[in-house]
């Protein structure tokens, strides 16, 4: 009897802690997803602006280095943003990001290297090289999107 009296409040407290932890975990997932989606949207924003300047002769050519540098900074955050595994939520991130962590890391590292090479090309000022490195950078984006992201329906 005594043991039951002692254990009931303890059990209740334990359940409350577990329930609390569950809520906190759910909130963390939501924040993790929102954070990485914000990073990827920013990547897309700079990529779109860069493409207009490089391929469609948008006159803001003096912005190119700044876009390239900002994009390179963001690319350096991608792996960290995807480090924490989430389950469920409004995301197209595939479970393979974590089940095949080495593959994902290789693909993301390729994209980082390509964004670094693109920055170097913008420093050179050689238009042909800039266009070539942009094509290579877009190829590396596909490297992750092919295998680690659900298709939009």
């Amino acid at each position: 009897m005594h043991r039951w009296i002692f254990s009931a409040p303890l059990t209740a407290a334990l359940l409350m802690v577990l329930a609390g932890a569950r809520i906190v975990a759910a909130e963390d997932d939501e924040s993790t997803i929102k954070y990485r989606q914000s990073i990827m949207k920013s990547v897309g924003g700079h990529t779109g602006a860069i493409y207009e300047i490089v391929k469609n002769n948008n006159p803001n050519k003096d912005h190119l280095k700044r876009h390239a540098s900002a994009l390179d900074d963001l690319m350096g955050m991608v792996q960290a943003a995807f480090k924490r595994q989430t389950s469920g939520g409004k995301t197209r991130a595939k479970a393979e990001i974590w089940s095949d962590a080495a593959g994902f890391s290789n693909a993301a590292s390729d994209a980082e290297a390509a964004s670094g090479a693109f920055v170097a090309a913008t420093e050179s000022g050689n238009d042909g090289e800039i266009a070539k490195k942009l094509d290579e950078l877009l190829d590396t984006c596909k490297g992750c999107h092919k295998n680690y992201r659900e298709k939009k329906d």
Binding site: M40, K41, V43, G44, G45, H46, T47, G48, A49, Y51, K55, N56, D135, L138, D139, C141, K142, C144, H145, K146, R149, E150, K151, K152, D153
Partner: protein, 298 residues
């Protein structure tokens, strides 16, 4: 006196040079040698994507790529010129029969996971050029892998009935009253590029639902939903400008700066990126002209 023959000789040389230049221009306009032209057809038809395994270091065109469908898993065959394991014994007519009628030598009916319902429209010229290219690719002795299908789908004779119901092997005929660019686009989208094979929903027998052509497929290959590419403003690509469609086909870049993924990224890498500017424009012209449809919701 010798000046006249010398003049004639000079004239003949100039004429010969002129003819050589003209023939060079003609060859360039027809897409180069048959092998070069065949490589272009091979690229646009997207053969490499399905006929090369995704395993690291897998030999090109030696087959073995798993294609998961609602009917089971198919494994693409070896199409290198190996005489035992590939198509080294095939004639051009054999290739034409496979592409148009879905039959390989020995009257073996092919599953329509090989998109012959679309390839059936290929021109003789393109089939000959494709064969010229396929004869030049490196051989591989990789044996073909049997498909993983339910028992009742292993009877290939059933495919004869399927074809009677759902397949009409007709060579593409340009539509009168439409521009050459539009007709070229129709040929690229509907025949060589076989876009409808993924972007159109299928009926319960696996045949394309032509009433919903290009309006997306919730049960696409590899378990992926495939988007609507009709000009519907909300459900399709009606909000995309001509240039945005063209850039997506060329590089995978979407209007919002996102980049293509999944099977489509492979299609761009293996196929669409090799398209000429004129062919890209033709595809855009045609895609913008098809009926705007809502996507199928499940």
């Amino acid at each position: 006196m010798p000046a006249i023959p010398a003049l004639w000789q000079f004239g003949a040389d100039v004429l010969l040079l002129f003819l050589l230049v003209l023939s060079g221009i003609a060859l360039a306009e027809s897409g180069g040698t048959p092998g070069q032209r065949g490589e272009y057809v091979f690229r646009v038809a997207g053969c490499a994507g399905c006929h090369t395994s995704k395993e690291k270091g897998a030999p090109a065109l030696a087959g073995g790529r798993e294609l998961k469908t609602q009917f089971g898993a198919f494994y693409s065959p070896n199409i290198t010129p190996h005489r035992e394991y590939g198509i080294g014994r095939w004639s051009t007519e054999d290739l034409a029969r496979a592409l148009r009628r879905g039959e390989s030598p020995g009257n073996i009916h092919l599953y329509p996971v090989f998109p012959y319902p679309s390839y059936a429209g290929m021109s003789n010229e393109d089939i000959r050029a494709l064969m010229a290219y396929l004869r030049r690719v490196p051989e591989s002795n990789r044996p073909n892998q049997p498909h993983d299908l339910p028992w009742y789908l292993r009877f290939r004779a059933l495919l004869y009935l399927w074809k009677l119901l759902f397949h009409s092997p007709e060579t593409f005929a340009p539509q009168a009253g439409k521009s050459a660019q539009w007709n070229r686009g129709a040929y690229l989208v509907n025949v060589l590029g076989h876009c409808g094979e993924c972007h159109t929903p299928r009926n319960r027998f696996g045949a394309l639902d032509s009433t919903r052509y290009l309006s997306g497929n919730p049960d696409g290959p590899e378990g992926e939903a495939v988007p609507n590419i009709t000009p519907h403003p909300g459900d399709g690509i009606g909000d995309w400008s001509s240039r945005e469609i063209r850039e997506y086909l060329k590089s995978g870049l979407m209007p919002d700066g996102d980049v293509a993924g999944g099977v489509m990224a492979d299609v761009i890498d293996n196929s669409l990126r090799y398209l000429s500017d004129d062919d890209l424009d033709a595809m855009v012209t045609y895609l913008e002209s098809v009926p705007a449809l809502t996507k199928l919701r499940r």
